[in-house]
Symmetry: C3
Subunit: 351 residues, 3 copies
């Protein structure tokens, strides 16, 4: 056997469309312990200021024993685990649904991830197909911390491979607020708006309200690579200039999610914890040099069983420099070219 | 109400000159827990090597129970808290005085900040004014960790707003060394110069002596943005290329302070802890691509009550590439264009 | 005494060739406590995914009480301590030998370093000489954690200084696998290949096998400077654009070592811990903008006394973009221009 073939057999080529089957369960590799170092890096990489994740004292005043890891750290860590098995040969990351945070991740927790293939549909071209997976993240006690559905377009390796029977899962358009899972002990009845940074409580937000988060961050290569590596996301396209003729690195969509979420502090300082991800689209690619801004639209509000705690459903839109706040799609329903991210989520907010 | 107006009301426009009044107390938002992650990042962002902050063992040999956070981490964290309330609409950061570190910050501590307006003076243009604040940082036990006076030039929003009665506080030009507060238990009687990195004790420095710290660091955008975000400093000018016609980002003055202080290890390895900031000026703006160098001048020395511990008063000057060590101002008393920082502080040094 | 001269005497000029003598022992300054923050930064700076260093749980399943610091963190920290004393005036870092890791470094450990000069040989030019040092790193309990021999070419300050008697130490070409020191308690008998990321055990690798690690990372200035500073490496050439006419910063060779080692996960996920460094050459300089790739060659395998634990000897080669896997030197035995690193080491792998 020539050397190159032999060596090729040791490395991970990723899965191709024909390698998936509905019902298949994939245990993702390399569990990861997250702690104060990851927290500090999150604060260095994003202008994150939500008080529960910034201050142990503030978290305690809200009924938690210490500051939990930012919910997006949980999301990125679990997502990163899935990349070698789900999206190494992906052409596009198409969407998210039914994302639910089941419990906070605490400093010192170790996360694992597992995905089940819940849908498959070959595209009419015969060269690619859509793979739907339901991914779960568990902590070291085997407790579920996060689940979400994600679908990606994946290349076929052998275009002659027969198309599987199409299975397209029925997915909720939005997580029912009655089913939101709240962190144990969470209590906003003594919530301190001064320390949190803004006076606006749930009742101050109206459905349909649009908030321009004002601030912008111009993205650097070193930062998005450090962030993406921190979550052990191995997608080549984020790190290596050689695959593209223009020698640009495509920025991990999750970097834009965290950047936009952090920017949304200005106007949504009290949207403290993310408890569900209803949907999300990476509308257009983001590259170093882009200046990311964000705006939010209030989609819904709800009550919860926890004292003083309400829920707010938000559309979070990241844009590239252009400030046309509130404009999202063109007449044909296609995202405008300056839109980077359209994320629909539930957060918790004091009543 | 049109959407844009409504949304504008949710975000922080910052305070304008006419929004301040003498005696006003502002509780700054978003307390922050700092720990080993922030310490590691500080070492990654600056060439910091002072042994007390680098090694738990060295700190213990100096009478402390573990390595405290770098004093500049305390300063930046407290300073960062004040930005949304004090300097979001600032035209210039004019000066510092009467800075005193009251006790170390330890890993796991949570910092809060509060400022009192102690002076106001409208400028003759009628478009801006100078705001003087005394800022205090407290830990989670309510103990004072840092206080300092800072004055900034702030824009008026309504140029027709009447000028307030001018109040200009009388500020000490230097913190009296007899009033320096030393970390509890600090003892340099068994100080190990070999481990600390240099043999020079307080008696080896002469007032008037000038030290060229030799080394230089060429600044990158990603690094100053990570540093500035780490302290939750929200000043737009550090992150967003769009406000300036030349699309440059102004570097947070504190980044230059920490860079220069770290560079000063080479020649001042035993100037271990900063206990007072007598004054400081950000003489000229710093941009990515600048190569920061530093030199120090010994301004004074003093004894302290702690065993083996002396105090050294230093002028720390950061310059951009140009090595004319010792040259600071032109004939008119204006800072030379290559000078970035002129900082006057007290540090502790073994006798 | 003029000011400039006096100040020069306070800073570290580094040692020149004539300042070394065989038998000389140098205690390096500034001990360093490493912890979770350094670990998180390591994961942000390199695509490191070896499971023992990523997950406390995985480490426990392998008989360790928690996840140890990455072996390269130990190496870089000890190496960094030696720079001000050994390589500040080095022209070239010539080689490594007899590197042995004696025990893991755990979060919270404090490292010190000491070097003994074991060889000296002036070059025929009379302007430089080769200095051989054996460096040891110790933890806060005085236990040896790492030792290695390194030789560097150092400038003479005074070319008239007489040449010392040439002493060239006899160095092993490879650490005898029978003498490898294994972490106490290490047990791979229940090793989980699924969680580790690859199914290949020691028996699946054949001597002579070459593995292309496929992935590449394009290097940024901010990243290599943050890494190099994190280890308190003070070599000016990594940070300051002014010394070179082309204003480029030479990247710390250890940055390339860690990058290549992390990239080698893809194909060597089970080469879990580095226990010895047999040799190493920084074949050509690396600069920001280079895209680092890596390939490995299996040089040997061995058994160990620990349950289920074997050892694999690997040549790890880092290259700049060019993918000619397996090509190392030209007909004259000179490294090809695209080769950055040639490292020979022993790692532990499940049988």
């Amino acid at each position: 056997m020539p050397k190159d073939q032999r060596s090729a057999s040791k490395t991970n080529p990723g899965r191709f469309f024909e390698d998936y089957s509905v019902g298949q369960v994939i245990e993702h590799a390399v569990p990861r312990t997250v702690s104060g170092g990851e927290r500090a890096l999150y604060h260095a990489l994003y202008p994150a200021r939500h008080a529960i994740q910034s201050s142990d004292e503030f978290a305690r005043a809200c009924g938690l024993h210490e500051s939990p890891m930012d919910d997006m750290i949980t999301f990125h860590t679990v997502f990163g685990k899935t990349v070698p098995d789900v999206s190494l040969n992906a052409v596009a990351n198409l969407g998210y649904a039914e994302g639910r945070f089941h419990r906070p991740v605490w400093p010192g927790d170790t996360l694992r991830a597992r995905s089940e293939v819940i849908g498959l549909k070959q595209n009419s071209s015969g060269k690619t197909g859509v793979v739907y997976v339901r991914t779960e993240g568990h902590n070291q006690r085997g407790q579920l911390v996060l689940e979400y559905v994600r679908w990606v377009m994946v290349r076929k390796n052998d275009v002659e491979a027969p198309a599987p029977e199409a299975v397209v899962p029925e997915l909720s358009r939005v997580v029912d607020p009655a089913t939101l899972i709240l962190p144990e002990g969470l209590d906003f009845s003594g919530y301190d708006c001064t320390l949190a940074g803004e006076p606006h409580r749930l009742g101050d937000y109206a459905v349909g309200e649009v908030i321009d988060h004002v601030d912008g961050v111009t993205i650097e290569e070193a930062e998005h690579m450090m962030a993406t590596r921190l979550w052990q996301n191995t997608s080549k396209t984020h790190f290596d200039v050689t695959p593209r003729a223009d020698r640009r690195r495509l920025i991990y969509g999750g970097h834009v999610m965290s950047m936009a979420r952090a920017l949304s502090f200005n106007g949504l300082a009290n949207a403290q914890m993310i408890v569900a991800i209803n949907g999300g689209s990476h509308a257009n690619p983001c590259f170093a040099g882009d200046t990311v801004r964000a705006w939010s639209e209030v989609l819904d509000t709800a009550e919860t069983a926890a004292p003083g705690v309400g829920a707010i459903r938000l559309r979070l839109v990241a844009v590239n420099e252009d400030r046309r706040v509130g404009e999202l799609k063109d007449a044909e329903g296609k995202y405008l070219p300056h839109v980077l991210l359209d994320l629909d989520y539930w957060a918790l907010m004091p009543l």
